[in-house]
Symmetry: C2
Subunit: 191 residues, 2 copies
C-alpha cells in the first residue's frame, strides 16, 4: 500500500477521532510492538502527542532507552494484531516474528512501522513522564497517511469496512469508525 | 433521560473509544462550557483522566480556580452544541443561556452537567500541568452512563443514530461511533 507523507501540522488528523493505536519501538538489536488505546494529540505546531505506556512494559524500556517510538493506527483488517501483541511480552519473544507481522522502515527513527494502518507518526520523546501518572510526550518528526484514503488534507474513508480505523472498548470489543457527517454552529449560521 | 451511576473502575469505558467531549466548569457564580477532542483515560484505579485545555481559555481559568471539572461525551443529537460553544468566550457571555443548553447538577462538583450525553464524569484536578505541554490530570470521583445504552458494564448502543457517541475530526466534520465487532488473539485461539 502507498504511504503519503503529510505536513506535521496535519498529523493530529490521523487520530483526532480517537482510534486505537499500535506503538512500535527499537533499541540496539531489540524491537517491540504493543497496542495502546490511550493516546491523544497535545498540540498542532509543533505537533506533539501524549501516549500512556505502562511503566512495567518492555515497550516503555525501549522507548526510554532510544528516545523514540512509532505510533500507527490500524485498519480493521488487522484488528486481531492489536490483541495478539498484548498476550506476550516482547522480553520473551520477538512478536513481529511470532505473529508474522510484516514491517517497513521509518525514516527518522529506528522503530519499524507495520502495514495496513491508516496513518503513521515518527515520534521523538521530549518528556518521559517523571511520575506514574504522566504520559510520555513525543514530538512528531514525520507523518504519513494511507494515500488511498487521505486526500487533500482530509479523510475520505473507503467503503471497504476492512480499511476503516477502529476504536477499542474492552474485552476484545471494538467499534469501527462510522459514517461521517458535518454540522455548523448556530452562531455561524446567524451571522 | 436516566443516568445510572457506574463504578469508578469502569469509568474509562465511557470514552476508551475516543469520542469528542464537552467540559463544564464553575467557580463562584461563574460557569462555562467548551468542547475538547483531546482527552483520554490515564489509569483504571484510581480512575484518572487527562484533558488538554488551552492555557488562554476561560475554562482553564475556572478549572484551575475551582480544582474541578465535568467531562461528558455528547450524543450525535447535540453535535451542534460542540461547535456552538467554540464560537464565543465564556468570559463575554453565559454560553448555557446563549445557546439554551439545559443542565442538571453533579453530586460532588459545582460544575453542571448537560443532557443528551452517553456518559458523565465528575473530576477533581490532581495536577494542573506546570508546562504548556502538560495536560490537566483529574481523578474521577463520580461517573454516570446513559441508563438506556450502558447495561451490565458494557455499551449496547441504540439503533437510533442520534443517540450514538461522536468523534471529531476538523472543520465541522464528525464520525459516528460505528458498528461493534469482536475478535480474539491468535495466541488465545491456539491454547
Amino acid at each position: 500500500m502507498a504511504h503519503t507523507s503529510i505536513p506535521l501540522k496535519d498529523s493530529y488528523k490521523l487520530f483526532n477521532h480517537g482510534p486505537v493505536s499500535i506503538i512500535t519501538s527499537a533499541h540496539g538489536n531489540k524491537r517491540n510492538i504493543m497496542a495502546a488505546a490511550w493516546t491523544m494529540p497535545l498540540d498542532f505546531s509543533p505537533a506533539r502527542v501524549a501516549v500512556v505506556i505502562d511503566k512495567n512494559t518492555y515497550t516503555r524500556e525501549l522507548v526510554n532507552a532510544s528516545g523514540e517510538f512509532g505510533l500507527q493506527f490500524p485498519m480493521r483488517k488487522i484488528a486481531k494484531v492489536t490483541l495478539d501483541v498484548g498476550d506476550l511480552s516482547g522480553r520473551d519473544v520477538d512478536k513481529f516474528s511470532r505473529f508474522n507481522i510484516s514491517t517497513f522502515p521509518a525514516s527518522k527513527i529506528a522503530a519499524p512501522f507495520i502495514e495496513d494502518c491508516i496513518g503513521w507518526l515518527e515520534c521523538k520523546v521530549i518528556k518521559q513522564g517523571a511520575e506514574e501518572m504522566d504520559p510520555i510526550v513525543g514530538e512528531v518528526v514525520a507523518a504519513y497517511a494511507d494515500a488511498e484514503q487521505f486526500l487533500n488534507g482530509r479523510w475520505n474513508f473507503s467503503d471497504d469496512p476492512q480499511k476503516r480505523s477502529i476504536h477499542y472498548m474492552a474485552g476484545g470489543e471494538f467499534y469501527m469508525t462510522g459514517e461521517s457527517f458535518r454540522t455548523s454552529s448556530r452562531y455561524s449560521e446567524e451571522k
